[in-house]
């Protein structure tokens, strides 16, 4: 056998080993605002098994690297992955894992946070939101661009606890305009509604690339859910722009909360990643 495949395999192994030696992200300390906490939360994250790429413990690691204090695991129409993620995270330092579900139906998607059991998605948005409330959770309109308006009548919008105001799809101007229209409608029907920023993380970008800054009385899942219910949130987009509650926005600006990290690579991550890919290409081609 030629030496090339062995050399290429050695490059791959060495690259993975080098990547493993990269310094771990320091544990994020949330910002205080008087007696309250300003917690960085991503309310819409997908994991494996599901259509997210990462298993729950890897997801939590990435959330920590992104400087999140908590995230809600919202797989489509199921809560099993989220419950497993919470169980695995129990008693270990790192972001708080909150059980959620992306209630996925024709005409509307809802990011439900703070629930325990799967919510039915076949009876309309208002029924789904009431079911979320019955479980003690909060319901957030997910990526409310016009493709997802069909299921939102005034009754269901008025029942919402929050809506996504910052989302990666806002990079498309037409979606950004749609989000603004939905924001106006939501504020008219429910003046204290919470503004939410979410990454909708599946594979690309990073968890927390759009995020919510939550003014919470306590640093816990219950504290996060209570803050959303009370509208004590602002949404932060990829460029660090802030949307929502003026009082919370002022506190966030005074606390100099940093914007999401956008740069995907450091020297420690780029070199091993590139070398591993080149090694694998050599294995495939030579």
């Amino acid at each position: 056998m030629s030496r090339v495949p062995w050399a290429a395999a050695a490059v791959v192994a060495a690259s993975l080993a080098a990547g493993s030696l990269a310094p771990r992200a320091p544990l994020h300390e949330p910002v205080r605002a008087g007696a309250d906490w300003i917690l960085a939360v991503d309310f819409h994250v997908h994991g494996f098994p599901g259509d997210g790429a990462l298993a729950p413990w890897l997801l939590r690691d990435e959330a920590a690297r992104a400087g999140l204090d908590a995230f809600v695991l919202t797989n489509h129409n199921r809560v099993s992955t989220a419950r497993r993620a919470r169980r695995l995270s129990a008693g270990t330092p790192g972001p708080i894992v909150i059980v959620g579900q992306e209630i996925t139906a024709r005409g509307f998607h809802i990011a439900a946070a703070g629930i325990e059991e799967r919510v039915a998605w076949t009876h309309g948005a208002a029924a789904a939101i009431r079911a979320v409330h019955a479980e003690g959770g909060v319901a957030i309109a997910a990526h409310p661009s016009r493709d997802y308006w069909q299921g939102w009548d005034d009754e269901s919008v008025a029942l919402l606890d929050g809506y996504e105001r910052a989302h990666p799809s806002m990079r498309r101007p037409e979606d950004g305009a749609d989000f603004a229209i939905f924001a106006t409608r939501a504020a008219a029907l429910h003046p204290d509604i919470a503004t939410i920023g979410s990454s909708d993380y599946h594979t690309g970008l990073l968890p927390g690339i759009c995020r919510t800054l939550v003014l919470a009385h306590e640093r816990s899942a219950a504290g996060v859910i209570a803050a959303v219910r009370a509208g004590r949130t602002v949404a932060m987009d990829m460029d660090g722009r802030i949307y929502g509650n003026d009082d919370v926005a002022r506190l966030v600006r005074e606390a100099h909360v940093p914007p999401p990290v956008r740069r995907p690579f450091t020297l420690w991550s780029r070199l091993p990643a590139g070398a591993a890919l080149v090694g694998l290409l050599l294995l495939v081609l030579l």
């Binding site: 993975l16 890897l58 690309g204 590139g274 591993a276 080149v278 290409l281």
Partner: protein, 190 residues
Amino acid sequence: MSADVDLALKPADTFDQLARARSTGRVSALAGRLLLALAVLGTSVAISAASRVSVELVATIAASWSFVLLIQALAAAVVILPARARIVTGLRAFELWFQAHVPWSLWFLLPPLYFVLVGRRVSDNVVMAAALIPMAWTALLMRAFARRVLRSRRADLVTVVHQAVLWGLTLCYIAFAIGGWDRVLAEVGL
């Protein structure tokens, strides 16, 4: 270039040569093929999802997504095991089929390589559209495999059966992952 590349570019002749060169399989050779496929899968997904690699990250992702190889193996089993005229053992047939990985390996490796080199992601739409290339290419490879290794006189039918099983199982996972068959139908406009 490797025999794998020859097989991707000249499938009929290369399958013929490889099958004649050795008719019995080796577990170690098949394990090596599967390990390479897992490494490609784990590394490319790790870079796309986390912009980094590490032993833990790549191994965990590879283990999580190893069901993709199971689906490939099941679809291959449906056409390999009943093929009575094949000129190699079942193990060797699996080995040869997993040697036909180049189209999908390139599809997995090239977008993250572009991302690492340029610092910008290839858009999801481009990646998904580009998947049509390995899909069609692999169907052609299966047709050659059916003719030259399985010695089937109905290679087109074998190819259709293989693709139907493969994409049927894949669609089942997609339906599970994105919220049910209703959503699958909605995504295709039904």
